[in-house]
């Protein structure tokens, strides 16, 4: 692993002033422009910076105090109950108000070690802020997300959340350095476990680092947050792919329990002709490039079609637009009402002048070596299926073509079934790891799991909640004690 001194050195070299990760820039992008029919015009550095500037700029102290004063300090507050990690929101807002910002950050991070990124990426309108009682008076809810960011940002780089007790002699390995593992590792340190996280990527954080739109969370900020976890004595081994660089057998031999927080795999294929053409890529690869590279080095077509109706599709269309693409289509086979993206995300894309094509499905991608156009077919919505959603049916003869330089697939993510099936006794259902809902223990009692690989894809905060629950489950399993459900209900 990178010891903290070495990490600091790399950390210092990694990030340019804009917070993108320059060190790991993909070499193949050097000749990128030739790979597409037409690339988007390059923007000025100032324009990129403006386009990817913080969508929720931080509050000043004065703004935080004024906004915080709107909190009623509800008793048994609904914002706490609507947070999967049960952050004591009224308490931390009150602490901001008394000038006890360290206390506020501690309240947040004790409940949710990823409080920094959750403050930026949580869909607060359906979580804490959606539950705020001010909504009942048709008032704007308290801006909990921004207040949380204010508190955590203020002390994140110096705070030591707690003094871990002496080692209890037991070791836990965690696979994947995303929010679920980071949360689980933190909780385990409270009980004195030695914990080691193994991660295949150069930087920890999982989707937090690589998979969230840059205007919401820069990779540099995601990595800064993880320093909080390292400060508690959590070891993170990067560039280690479990199954290849380290075997499950080794882990099982050397560790008392293993937590699986590997998330999901790449984007599902469209299953249409032409997916192998240059310029057809999957959403997560695209977003990762915006997080790892300077914006002017990201390969982007001038006309871009994005397939999908979820929040990832929104992240992609907005990023494509902000990178300079002059025409961005978002194509979804159902209607706007059926799209799984949050309403506020769709509104954001509308502000970015994205061309929505509802009720259309991609049929084939055309081009000679490179993407040149996309043929789509219009759909009509049939009766509701078993899941309650109306299933789309293609309307024959309604085909139409879009002149595009790039097709980005933002369908659901695939499951890492192959790896999971290599663990003996592991039970999967539709590719998801089956766990005990209370303890997160899998069918193989040595293994626990949480996050996207269990819920099929949720929010960062859901993964954090799973991590806490799993830590309690692991502690109960190894220490023979009843699971201590430290505030979590996910």
């Amino acid at each position: 692993m990178l010891d903290s001194r070495l990490f600091t050195l790399i950390f210092a070299g990694l990030f340019d002033g804009r917070g993108s990760v320059a060190f790991f820039a993909f070499d193949r992008l050097g000749d990128g422009p030739n790979m597409l029919k037409q690339v988007a015009p390059r923007l000025t550095p100032e324009q990129y910076e403006k386009n990817f500037s913080d969508i929720n700029p931080p509050l000043t102290q004065s703004q935080a105090l004024e906004e915080g004063s709107r909190c009623l300090f509800c008793y048994d507050a609904p914002c706490i109950k609507a947070c999967p990690t049960e952050i004591n929101v009224p308490q931390f807002i009150r602490q901001i108000g008394t000038g006890n910002v360290t206390g506020a950050a501690t309240t947040i991070l004790n409940a949710n070690i990823m409080g920094h990124s959750c403050a930026r990426v949580c869909p607060t309108s359906v979580l804490c802020e959606g539950a705020c009682v001010l909504n009942y008076e048709n008032k704007r809810p308290v801006d909990i997300g921004k207040l949380q960011r204010y508190a955590v940002d203020s002390v994140m780089d110096t705070l030591k959340l707690f003094e871990p007790p002496a080692d209890n002699g037991k070791k836990v390995a965690l696979i994947g350095a995303g929010p679920a593992s980071l949360s689980c590792a933190t909780e385990l340190r409270r009980h004195g476990y030695q914990v080691t996280i193994f991660d295949a990527n150069p930087l920890p954080g999982g989707l937090d680092t690589y998979g969230i739109a840059a205007y919401k969370l820069r990779a540099s900020d995601a990595v800064r947050e993880i320093e909080l976890v390292r400060r508690l004595g959590v070891e993170i081994k990067s560039n280690v792919l479990v199954g290849k660089d380290a075997t499950l057998v080794e882990l099982e031999k050397n560790y008392d329990a293993i937590f699986i927080g590997i998330g999901l795999g790449g984007t599902d294929d469209l299953g249409i002709p032409g997916e192998d053409l240059e310029g057809c890529i999957d959403a997560l690869t695209f977003i990762r490039e915006t997080k790892e590279n300077p914006f002017d080095k990201v390969l982007i077509g001038n006309k871009v079609a994005v397939i999908g109706g979820g929040n990832t599709a929104i992240d992609v269309v907005t990023a494509a637009h902000r990178l300079g693409a002059e025409e961005v289509y978002m194509i979804y086979r159902r209607g706007e009402a059926e799209a799984s993206a949050f309403k506020y995300e769709i509104e954001l894309a509308k502000k970015d002048e994205i061309s929505f094509i509802w009720q259309a499905a991609p049929a084939k991608i055309l081009g000679r070596g490179k993407v040149e156009s996309l043929e789509c077919v219009k759909t009509m919505l049939g009766p509701a299926d078993a899941s309650g959603r109306r299933s789309p049916q293609n309307i024959s003869g309604s085909e139409f073509r879009l002149d595009v330089d790039m097709v980005i697939k933002a369908l659901g993510q695939s499951k890492k079934t192959e790896f999971l099936q290599s663990i003996s006794g592991m039970k999967l259902e539709k590719g998801r790891v089956v766990v005990n809902a209370e303890t997160c223990q899998t069918a193989n009692p040595k293994y626990f799991a949480g996050g996207d690989c269990v819920n099929g894809g949720g929010e960062v905060v859901d993964a954090v909640a799973h991590g806490k629950k799993a830590a309690a489950g692991i502690h109960a399993h190894l220490a023979g004690k009843a699971a201590n459900m430290r505030g979590t209900h996910a």
Binding site: L65, E66, S69, L72, F73, C74, Y75, D76, A77, P78, K81, A82, C83, P84, G97, S125, V126, L127, G130, A131, V133, L134, Y136, E137, H489
Partner: protein, 443 residues
């Protein structure tokens, strides 16, 4: 259109709103600006032998987004020559003959010194004199201000000296830093005062700087106690005005002071017996322009109430302030929560549970977020048979008119504590509840 002018000791003021004696009424320039803005009168910053001031001089307390809900000052009386002040008073009265100018005075406790300054005031054109017997800081260390106002004999003696030569009505400004301000009012009334004004500022330390450990306001690494005023002192002032109004030996007009910032505050002071009101902190905070709404608001209020004159307000509430022992023990209200308005904050529950009488229930709120559908509104319930009708829940409820206190018919005739005591004397074997059930009318 109602008449908002008032008659104070025979002096007519275009409205009851006067600037109180303090920084806003320090110079002719300020007072004329105030009269242009619409103030009916101004009590000049206290005139006496010019003093030295320190820097800084003010400290305040804020509450949430509201600045300066309480203001503390260690500033002394006018630092300008006596003659300058009187010359300016004359100038102002010439230009603004219809506005009221009150000369506030404070000199050392010698009869001749008082006679001199009062005679000078007589000649200045001022309408009234106000004796500053209240300044609680600095001046009191020199045997003036509150040092006089805290000793009835001194206050009475100096009032009498002033009255020996004064040709205009004399108001005595009272300090709240006494045990019984109404007794002070009665004393100066007996000594010949034509009116009283109250309250002056309250002894205070407004706060301590947590980094330097020096109380505020900081003067070179130290501080001194000061006088407290502003919105925070209003309830104290109202009570003192009411007690003076009630005193059987006080029969002179009152000029009300203490936390008045708008027409509503002014009306409250008038209802409790003030004929005019004095405003200082609010003018220091927002400037003279606040008087526009004060005048218009008072006007509209009088019109809504069908009243012809602001003078009709004076003292209307005095008889509604009673001794506790005169309150009806058989009157009962209980809290009602309007389920339409309730937002489910549970503040009423926790206030009642921890801070009052455990008369509200609230089930634990279930977990869940909006991804699983909109959660049902989670509302506390009043235990109506337990509710003592204390008001606390209604006070903490953030939604207007959500919790209301509703009168319950106890079926019992009125009975107060005094009547109950009498009844107990006559019926020593009856329980208190039996006596209350009968009510006072049976005796």
């Amino acid at each position: 259109m109602p008449d908002i002018s008032v008659n104070f000791c025979g002096v007519k003021s275009p409205n009851p709103f006067w600037l109180g004696s303090g920084p806003p009424a320090n110079t002719a320039y300020q007072v004329m600006r105030a009269f242009d803005a619409g103030w009916g009168g101004a009590v000049w910053k206290t005139i006496g032998e010019p003093i030295m001031n320190v820097s800084s001089r003010y400290g305040s307390i804020d509450y949430k987004n509201e600045r300066m809900i309480g203001l503390n000052n260690i500033e002394l009386i006018s630092d300008r020559p006596i003659e300058t002040n009187f010359t300016e008073i004359t100038e102002v009265k010439k230009k603004y003959p219809k506005n009221v100018v009150v000369a506030s005075l404070m000199v050392e406790s010698k009869q001749t010194t008082w006679h001199e300054i009062v005679k000078r005031t007589n000649d200045s054109g001022a309408d009234l004199i106000e004796l500053n017997f209240g300044c609680p800081h600095g001046m009191s260390e020199r045997g003036m201000g509150a040092a006089v106002g805290q000793v009835p004999e001194y206050a009475g003696m100096i009032t009498a000296w002033v009255k020996e030569v004064a040709k205009i009505p004399v108001i005595v400004k009272l300090t709240p830093n006494v045990t019984d301000i109404a007794h002070m009012a009665a004393t100066v009334n007996a000594a010949g005062a034509d009116a009283v004004s109250l309250i002056n500022t309250i002894n205070s330390l407004v706060g301590v700087d947590l980094d330097t450990w020096v109380p505020r306001p900081i003067v070179g690494g130290a501080s001194s106690h000061g006088g407290y005023c502003g919105p925070a002192v209003k309830p104290i002032a109202l009570n003192m005005v009411a007690s003076v109004s009630h005193h059987p030996k006080v029969n002179i007009p009152i000029s009300g002071i203490g936390g008045i910032g708008n027409w509503r505050d002014a009306v409250e002071f008038m209802l409790l017996g003030s004929t005019s009101v004095q405003v200082c902190t609010a003018a220091m905070h927002y400037g003279f322009r606040i008087v526009e709404d004060m005048a218009e608001g008072l006007n509209n209020y009088l019109a809504e109430k069908g009243m012809q004159s602001a003078m009709e307000l004076v003292g209307k509430s005095v008889n509604k302030v009673k001794d506790w022992g005169d309150l009806n023990l058989n009157y009962k209200v209980i809290a009602k929560i309007d389920p339409e308005k309730c937002i489910g904050c549970n503040l009423c529950y926790i206030a009642c549970e921890d801070g009052a009488h455990q008369c509200i229930t609230a089930a634990p709120r279930p977990f869940g977020d909006l991804r699983e559908g909109t959660p049902a509104k989670h509302m506390p319930q009043i235990k109506e048979d337990h509710c003592v009708g204390c008001n606390l829940c209604a006070l903490v409820c953030p939604v207007p008119q959500c919790i209301t206190m509703q009168e319950i018919d106890t079926g019992r005739p009125p009975m107060n504590w005094r009547q109950l005591q009498e009844s107990r004397g006559k019926n020593p074997t009856c329980s208190m509840d039996e006596l209350l059930a009968k009510g006072a009318s049976t005796h």
